[in-house]
Each structure stands twice: as structure tokens, then as C-alpha cells.
């Protein structure tokens, strides 16, 4: 299709050739030609560098056991090598570098945003279910306060395995009720592979050597065939020993283990208070027997009474829940409508104010008799040339209350008596619009000047001859013609301001803050996109990426729909579809 209607264009004049000639010429262009030696060498070197990088990344992935990602990297690398090593297939050679980046950092961003919108991904749900289970288990590790505290010596065997040699002076006492009857225990870090945890009795006692303990009683300090670590050795590697577990039986999960106390002088039984059972996909809290079932629709372990076991849940697909929150939450409805209407008002007011000022100026300066136009023009473009983020910061400073440039120097208020530009909602909205007018009018001035100059002089001349007043010329001739050519630009300017995050975020941060009881901070000047940013990145309640993405998708449809209308009015799409 495209090939048959293809024109061979050389500058302005168009030459129509027969279909056969055009096909033949296209074939010639599509054929790459005989590769030169130099070109081939450069190609091999570049491809080699790419392959080396891919190999490096693959090694990192192998080290982390990420097989899915590894497969992806390998496949992409193979495809790239295939594209560049075979002869022909020119389009792929030119397109693939850009397309690669496009797929991973643009296309995937769109697709992934859409996916996240249907999940509960966020600060409370940022990992897999496995991560969540292990974090619950970590949190459920408790010291058994009913079990005796025992003095300990840390031993090492010839194979670098560590052992606890413990002396229990608290469980049994002599007839006087004060003198302890000691019990001695020994156990290694792996119950099955090393000497398992057991009490030292009978003949084995003869292998134990004794020393003075902290409590004034003798304790076991050595065992035949093992080296006892000195206090210095233990404290030097404190972290290693703090997590050392000596299992009480082969079932460490149910029976628990001995663990060092923070002083490293004693050990006590430690166990998981909540235990995960894969068969029923639930946790049981041992202290009271409560069962917490995995709720895969919420990403939490929840008991029958509704109690939540974990604060850190896992990421899971929640269907339309985020969209229900947006459209169905009664409490949020009013604030959301407020944000939405301010977004629309802000975008329309920004476009209109900048357009009207820009148009007025371009009409004013579209006068050949006026001198110094170039100087005026250069000065007026300055706000547009100035980086937008800096302008926003600067205006924020100028709007400051007490000694702000605007309150104090321009309006002449005494300190403390000025307009609370950033603290009061109405004033803050005006402040933002004023700043945006400053930022935006040069752009409108430039485009309206361009469009005005494109209007044929004959049209206005004939209107003048017909006796049209200046106002009539503008209203009946210039404005309608201008709007025809400028409407797409006005629409894209609307779309841009609809998402003008920088100006809102940097000037007011969306503030002043709204009703704190809502749970989300709905600021007085928040537009949708700054609100989304708050939900995702600066919420006191913990980030909710899912909800933020759901908003993003909605905004995309609003803005995308508008832009499509705008583009349809230009010849943009027609050109592409040739």
C-alpha cells in the first residue's frame, strides 16, 4: 500500500514514476551493497562490545539466580547478533538500537504502569510472597522467657563449625535452695552434621574443663578436642555470632534453637512464635494458636477475626480495587472532584491567559513602523528561555510572605501584613497562575506572531478597503484564521498544563494542606499529577504505587484523547499515513 502511493520527492517538485521503476529503485536502496573490510571490522568490534556487556550482565544474573531475566538477556543478545551478522534486513539494522531502548524504557513503562494500576504495589506491598513470609518469620522470632538462661562458651571444631557449651545454673538447686546443681549442654550449629544439642552426662563429663563464671559459680569453659574462643575473638565478630543458631533438635522450626544474648555471655532458647505452613498457606501463632490465612487478594496474612499478622505484605493483583477507590470512595469523592476541577481550571486559565497576552502583544508588535522590535522580542522571550524549574523556584521565593519581593518591595506591605500568597488557597492559586502567565506568554507570543504573519496581506487590505474597523478585522478575519492554525497548539498546550507537575510541585508543593482526616493529603493547589506524585512518593501513609498508577492511566486517557483530537486537526496523521 505504502509502496504504491510512495512519491519520490525532491524538495518542492514531485516526480511521478511508473510503479515498476519505483519498485526497482526501492530494491536498490534496500540492498545494502557489498560490505567493505573496514566496515566489517568496525561492525565486529561494536558487536563484540555489546556482547561483552551482555555477558557481564548475564554473569551478574547467574550469580543472583535470576533465570527468567537471564533468558531474556540471552534472547535479546542472540537476536541482535542475528540482525547485524546476516546480510540484508537493513531496516532492522537501523531500527533495533532505538527500538531496544524504546521497548525497555518507554513501551514497558506504559505497559507496566497499566499493570501496576491493577495491583496493590506500594510501600506496604513491595515484595514477593516469599519475602513477606521470611520477614514475618524474622519478626516472630522470640526468646523463650520460661527457658533457663545459661552461661556459655563458644567452641570451634577442626572443621570451623561453632558450638555452644552451656552451663545451666538456674534449673536445679541443692537442699539449701541457693547452691545450684549445674547441668551442662553441648551442641553445634547443624544438628545433623555436627554434634547435636544434648546434655553432657556420665563419662562425657570428664571431657569438660571448668573455669570461673560471671555469677560466681564454676562453668564449663572447654571440651576435649575443641578450641574455646576468647572473649576478644567473639566480640570482634559479634555480628556473626549474634545470628548463630544451635538447633535444639532436627526440627528447628518447631523446637527452636539456642541463641546468644546481646552480652554474648549467655544463651537462651529462641523460637518462631508464628510458623508458616506451606500446605495450608497460613501462619499459626504458637502463643495463642490463632491461624492467619494468606489472603492473596489483599497481600496480607489475616486471622478469622480480621487481625493482620504482618505490616509488610506482598504484591498481588487486586483487580479493579484501585479504580473503585477513585470512583467509589464516598469520602474521597468531594476532594477528588475538587482536584479535578482545579486541574481543568488551571489548564484552561493558563492557556487562555497566556494566549490572550501573547496575541495582544503580537498584534501590537506586528507593525512595520515600530522601531526596536527585535529588542522587545528578545527581552520578551527571556522568561521562556529561562529554565522552567528555576523560574518556579524563583517565583516561590518572590511570593514569600514576610519580606517577599512581591509583598514587601512591589506591593509595599509591612512585614506580616501582606497577602499570604502560598499559605492561603485562593491566593496560592493566583500566585501559580501569575507565575505560569509569566512562563507561558512568550511561547504564545511567538506562535501567534508566526501565524499572524502567515495570514495573506490581501485579506486585511481588502477588509480595510471595505471599511472594516481594526476590531472587526481582528474578530472577523484574523482571529478565525489564527484559530484554525493554532487550535492544535492550544490543545497540546492544554495537555501540557494539565500535567504541569513542575510548577505546582516547586511553587506550592500542592499546598496548603487540606483536611488531614482524609488519610491522603489533598492540597489546595494540587492538580491530578502532583496528587499522584504525593500518593506514590511522599505520602505519610506509605506509598501506594497501585493507586498512583490507576490515576496515571486515567490521566493518560484524558490527555491522550485530547491530543488525538488536536492531532487529527493537523495534517500530522495524514502525513504519516501517506
Amino acid at each position: 500500500m505504502a509502496r504504491n502511493t510512495e512519491d519520490v520527492t525532491s524538495d518542492a517538485k514531485t516526480v511521478r514514476l511508473s510503479a515498476a521503476t519505483r519498485r526497482a529503485r526501492q530494491r536498490m536502496v534496500d540492498d545494502g551493497g557489498t560490505p567493505s573490510l573496514r566496515g566489517t571490522i568496525i561492525k565486529i568490534i561494536l558487536l563484540g562490545i555489546a556482547d561483552a556487556a551482555a555477558f557481564f550482565v548475564s554473569m551478574l544474573l547467574v550469580a543472583k539466580h535470576q533465570w527468567t531475566y537471564l533468558a531474556g538477556v540471552v534472547i535479546v543478545t542472540l537476536i541482535l547478533n542475528f540482525i547485524y551478522l546476516r546480510r540484508g534486513g537493513l531496516p532492522a539494522k537501523y531500527l533495533s538500537p532505538g527500538v531496544l531502548f524504546l521497548i525497555f524504557f518507554s513501551f514497558s513503562v506504559v505497559v507496566y504502569s497499566a499493570f501496576i494500576a491493577f495491583t496493590n504495589y506500594g510501600g506496604q506491598h513491595n515484595g514477593s510472597k516469599e519475602d513477606s513470609i521470611s520477614s514475618v518469620e524474622l519478626g516472630a522470632m522470640v526468646t523463650d522467657t520460661n527457658a533457663p538462661w545459661m552461661d556459655v562458651s563458644i567452641l570451634e571444631d577442626g572443621n570451623k563449625h561453632f558450638y555452644f557449651l552451656a552451663s545451666d545454673n538456674m534449673s536445679e538447686f541443692a537442699a539449701d535452695g541457693v547452691t545450684p546443681v549445674p547441668h551442662y549442654y553441648l551442641g553445634g550449629e547443624d544438628f545433623n552434621a555436627t554434634t547435636g544439642w544434648h546434655e553432657i552426662t556420665g563419662d562425657e563429663l570428664s571431657k569438660v574443663s571448668y573455669g570461673a563464671g560471671l555469677m560466681g559459680y564454676d562453668i564449663a569453659t572447654g571440651y576435649e578436642g575443641f578450641t574455646t574462643l576468647t572473649i576478644d575473638q567473639v566480640t570482634q565478630e559479634g555480628a556473626k555470632f549474634a545470628t548463630l543458631k544451635v538447633p535444639l533438635s532436627a526440627q528447628i522450626d518447631t523446637d527452636g534453637w539456642m541463641a546468644l544474648d546481646p552480652s554474648a555471655a549467655g544463651v537462651q532458647r529462641t523460637y518462631y512464635d508464628a510458623k508458616y505452613d506451606a500446605a495450608t498457606d497460613s501462619f499459626t501463632r504458637l502463643s495463642d494458636g490463632t491461624v492467619f490465612k494468606a489472603d492473596n487478594s489483599q497481600g496480607f496474612f489475616i486471622s478469622e477475626s480480621g487481625e493482620r499478622l504482618n505490616d509488610t505484605g506482598w504484591q498481588t493483583v487486586v483487580g479493579l480495587k484501585n479504580f473503585n477507590t477513585i470512583f467509589g470512595n464516598e469520602k474521597l469523592r468531594a476532594p477528588l472532584l475538587k482536584i479535578f476541577s482545579w486541574t481543568v481550571i488551571f489548564a484552561i486559565a493558563s492557556v487562555l491567559s497566556t494566549f490572550i497576552l501573547g496575541l495582544a502583544l503580537s498584534l501590537l508588535f506586528n507593525d512595520d513602523r515600530l522601531r526596536g522590535k527585535k529588542i522587545y522580542r528578545a527581552i520578551m522571550i527571556l522568561p521562556y528561555a529561562f529554565p522552567g524549574f528555576l523560574s518556579a523556584y524563583v517565583w516561590k521565593g518572590m511570593f514569600s510572605f514576610e519580606y517577599g519581593f512581591i509583598n514587601f518591595n512591589i506591593l509595599g506591605f509591612k512585614p506580616g501584613h501582606g497577602i499570604p500568597w502560598l499559605a492561603e488557597e485562593g491566593a496560592a492559586k493566583w500566585a501559580i497562575l501569575l507565575c505560569n502567565l509569566w512562563l507561558g506568554f512568550p511561547y504564545m507570543f511567538l506562535i501567534t506572531t508566526g501565524a499572524l504573519q502567515a495570514i495573506p496581506a490581501e485579506l486585511t487590505e481588502s477588509a480595510v478597503i471595505d471599511g472594516a474597523s481594526a476590531w472587526q478585522q481582528l474578530r472577523l478575519i484574523k482571529l478565525p484564521l489564527l484559530l484554525v492554525s493554532l487550535t492544535p497548539l492550544l490543545i497540546s498546550s492544554f495537555a501540557f498544563n494539565f500535567n504541569n507537575f513542575t510548577i505546582i510541585y516547586l511553587i506550592t508543593g500542592g499546598g496548603p494542606s487540606g483536611d488531614p482526616s482524609l488519610g491522603v493529603d489533598v492540597g489546595g493547589t494540587d492538580i491530578l499529577i502532583s496528587f499522584v506524585y504525593k500518593i506514590a512518593f511522599s505520602s505519610s501513609q506509605g506509598a501506594d504505587y497501585g493507586l498512583a498508577s490507576a490515576f496515571s492511566i486515567l490521566i493518560f486517557f484524558i490527555v491522550g484523547g485530547l491530543s488525538l483530537i488536536g492531532f487529527r486537526r493537523t495534517r500530522f496523521l495524514e502525513e504519516v499515513t501517506e
Binding site: D11, P91, L102, L382, F408, A451, S492, A536, V576
Partner: protein
């Protein structure tokens, strides 16, 4: 040409002198309005310049009440490890350079292909690019953050907190941003040039790199500078990717100064702003002609 016109015009005016009232009614008031608009356009800029050269950031006494280079000296002295201003300049320049060169290279390759070669999915590809362009990167923030934090887990050099991660994101947007514009440029280069070179035995890479790219190189350079301006002014992506002060770009880092207007920091912020803005403003003004022609093509400065 235009000077000639002005001269004849001046002579005419000289002949029949305009009365002062008439001048005021036709042109004078326009100058007055023009002056007013210039004041409006200039006062925030005069304000920062004034603060930047002020002694303490307090200019309640009026513009240019005091004049000192102290703030600039302090910026470059680098004695505040939390605000490494020189490092920010270096970061900004190299990140924006690599990204803009890379993105122009990538989109020029693709645009050439769309312009010269005919293949299945060509039309669909161009349309997809235009559609993706409509998805502003602000909306993809969460996904970009998630993708980079996943990358960070396995290939830290390309993930969060890494300038390369940020560059990857900028490059990802390059095809959507620049290809369509360059497609137009390549279309203005006659196809006969390719064909003639082909008949002379040139390979496709020789044609592309040695003939076509050289022909469009002025436009590529402009495109690259525009992309440089855009990237060095980006606040939002840089702010979510970079988390440590010594990794910040100017756009993110300068924000650290403005906790309190009318303080020493505020003066340093304004000094920094002048340094950050001057090259961009100069670039912008010198490229004005290209920017204004691009404007009517539907581009909006971000």
C-alpha cells in the same frame, strides 16, 4: 534588504513630520506597552541577579542594594559536603551530553530507516512512536521507579541511584521524541543522492554515515542542543532516580538551597541559578530561529 526599506521609510517620515500627538496615538503607546511588558518579563530575572550579588540574600532595601561576589565564591569553594555545587554541574553536563548525543544518534538511525527503507510495519511503527510520545514521562514515574529498582537489585550500575540508570530512561524517551521530527528532515534530502552513491558502489553504512548524516548535520546539532536544554532542565525524573546529594543534577540539587527565602542560602541559590541558567538562555536565544520553527510543528517546551 530590510535596511533599505527602513531608510526609504525614514526619509518619508522626515518629509511629512508626524505631530507628537499623532506619534503617541499610533506608535508611542505601543512603546509604552512594550516597556511595561519588558518590565514584567525582566523583573524576576533582575530580582535573582540582585539577590545573587547581595550580601545576605536580603534585598528589602531595594534591588542592587549591595554588590558582592561572595555567594559565587562560596558556591565554588565546595566546603559544604551536602551541597557539592561543582559536582552538580559536572553531573548535569555529562549526563545531559551523553543522553542528548545518544538520543540524537538513536533517533537519526531510526528516522533514516523510516524515510528511506520500505518494510512491513513501517506505518504502524511511526504511528506507535507518535502515540508513545503522548504518554508524558511524568505519568510513568511509578513504573520507571519500579523498573529501575528492579534493575538496581541485579545490575546496580544501571539502576536507581546511578547516572547510567537516568541516562537509560532519557534514551528510552528519545525515539518517541525526536524520530518524527528527523523523519521530516531526512525526507528533504533527495533520494537520488542515495541511489547515485549506490550505483558508485557505496555500502549502506557509507551512504548513511558519510553522505546523508553530513548533509543533515547542522540540523542534528540543533536537535542535540535542544535535547541538551531539555534534559538539563529536567527536574522530575532526576529527582526520583537520584537519591544522594553528590549524584544530583543542578535541577534537583539547587532545590536544597531554598528552604528559606531571604537567607544566606537563598542568595547562594540565586547565584547557582544564574550559573545554571546562563548557558541555557544563551543556547536558547542563539537557537531561537530553529525553536520557533519547531514550535509551530507542535512541540511544547517541557
Amino acid at each position: 534588504m530590510s535596511t533599505v526599506v527602513e531608510e526609504t521609510y525614514d526619509r518619508k517620515v522626515g518629509k511629512r513630520r508626524m505631530s507628537p500627538f499623532r506619534w503617541l496615538a499610533t506608535l508611542g503607546w505601543k512603546h509604552l506597552v512594550g516597556l511595561a511588558v519588558c518590565v514584567y518579563a525582566l523583573f524576576p530575572i533582575l530580582y535573582i541577579i540582585s539577590v545573587a550579588f547581595s550580601d545576605s540574600g536580603d534585598i528589602s532595601g531595594g534591588l542592587f542594594g549591595s554588590f558582592t561576589f561572595k555567594n559565587f565564591e562560596q558556591l565554588f569553594a565546595g566546603d559544604d559536603p551536602d551541597r557539592p555545587f561543582v559536582q552538580w554541574i559536572i553531573n548535569t553536563v555529562w549526563i545531559a551530553s551523553v543522553s542528548s548525543i545518544g538520543s540524537v544518534f538513536l533517533s537519526a538511525l531510526a528516522a533514516y530507516s523510516f524515510s528511506r527503507q520500505r518494510f512491513r510495519g513501517r506505518r504502524g511503527g511511526l504511528l506507535t512512536l507518535i502515540l508513545l510520545q503522548m504518554f508524558p514521562s511524568v505519568l510513568g514515574l511509578v513504573a520507571i521507579y519500579a523498573i529501575l529498582s528492579e534493575l538496581y537489585k541485579y545490575v546496580p550500575a544501571l539502576g536507581l541511584n546511578s547516572p547510567w540508570g537516568l541516562i537509560l530512561v532519557y534514551l528510552g524517551g528519545s525515539l518517541g521524541g525526536g524520530t518524527y521530527l528527523m523523519y521530516g528532515f531526512f525526507n528533504t534530502v533527495p533520494k537520488e543522492i542515495d541511489e547515485a552513491a549506490k550505483i558508485d558502489g557505496a555500502t549502506h553504512t557509507q551512504i548513511y554515515f558519510q553522505i546523508i548524516l553530513r548533509l543533515v548535520s547542522p540540523i542534528l546539532a540543533v536537535q542535540m542542543l535542544l535535547s541538551f536544554i531539555g534534559i538539563s532542565s529536567d527536574f522530575i525524573l532526576a529527582s526520583i532516580v537520584m537519591n544522594k546529594p553528590d549524584q544530583y543534577t543542578l535541577a534537583v540539587g539547587l532545590g536544597l538551597f531554598i528552604d528559606q527565602p531571604y537567607s544566606k542560602n537563598w542568595a547562594m541559590f540565586c547565584a547557582g541559578a544564574i550559573i545554571a541558567a546562563t548557558p541555557i538562555v544563551v543556547l536558547f536565544m542563539s537557537l531561537q530561529r530553529y525553536i520557533t520553527s519547531g514550535l509551530t510543528g507542535g512541540a511544547v517546551k517541557g
